[in-house]
Symmetry: C2
């Protein structure tokens, strides 16, 4: 016999469809919802719908926004440096550290033939167009350190042949607070290759 | 500057209010929602609302149901054995193992003065009333093994003084598949005290 009512089973199913949420956690979350006040759950449901109906991609940089243009594109129009990231949420650590005062551009992924992602799935034409039209002086590539990210960086470099823009990428090396003993081989290789004089 | 649109921040807030979901996981779940089709999210929101509007406590045993009477109370009316649990979800392992063919009763907690839970917060009168009226022959207490559960069991025992009903509780001992080396002291004490002849 099904011990749990159908509406509860359905809610458990919704939670367990989320990434990293197993059946047990999903059940715990669903029972937690049952213990909430109706107006709190109503707000949760509204916020779910708001997120998918109001949030869309900024037409200029493809980051998520609920306005015509995202906050950064609107406030920093005219900036001459652009940081290229893979996905919208990659912008957060830059803004949190306050290290980059310029624009951003969300590529929408990296080239990965195995996952069926070719150059045509990425927002490459818009990137090139913006760099030319806005007279961007520096392009900072911040695409992670996978082979796919490296080939995407190469592709961008080729697309910009003849365009007068400085191209950089984030430094690779030992992260802060990390114990040297546990640093993996690739990170160590890159930190050693990229060593700087004191 | 707030990098994320307000509707997204609100959704992250909803997820992070759930038990065991931190800020980072909440952000990951919210971005996952943004990547879903609108009709899928609509179904999620509907299921949230369905759960709180349709699911209520069975008036007979206080387990969760979305009908007048829960499935077990409806199908097993007349059974002479009742298993008393703390909360609705505790019924699941019994039904999964198929070990108990009788009724259930959800107490709504255990007596815990420190948490402000006294006997009056529990469904004790209804339990006593059902045992008398339905001619229950066995009451199986399945309240866990905390001191609070023990004093609740004692309270139930006292309330049933003079009522002709067999009272049992679940056995305590070594769980299946457990390595003796790592069994805690209390479990070992109870397993030893409760040893049975071969």
């Amino acid at each position: 016999m099904n011990v749990e009512p159908q509406s509860l089973v359905a809610l458990i199913g919704e939670f367990s469809s989320l990434p990293g949420i197993g059946q047990k956690t999903a059940r715990r979350l669903a029972y937690h919802i049952l213990a909430k006040r109706k107006d709190e759950v109503e707000r949760f449901a509204d916020n779910l719908m708001n997120a998918v109906t109001k949030v869309h991609q900024c037409p200029n940089c493809f980051s998520f926004t609920d306005e015509d243009l995202c906050g950064i594109c609107a406030e920093r129009a005219g900036a001459k440096s652009i940081c290229v990231v893979e996905k919208s949420s990659d912008i957060i650590p830059f803004e949190r550290s306050g290290v980059h005062k310029g624009l951003y551009f969300v590529l929408g992924g990296v080239i990965s033939p195995l996952d069926g992602v070719g150059p045509e799935q990425l927002h490459l034409p818009k990137l090139v167009e913006r760099i030319k039209q806005e007279g961007i002086q520096e392009l900072v590539l911040a695409l992670g350190s996978s082979p796919e990210a490296d080939s995407t960086a190469l592709m961008i470099d080729r697309l910009l042949t003849g365009v007068d823009v400085k191209r950089t990428r984030l430094a690779r090396g030992i992260p802060m607070g990390s114990d040297l003993e546990f640093v993996d081989e690739i990170t160590m290789l890159r930190a050693f290759e990229g060593r700087v004089s004191l």
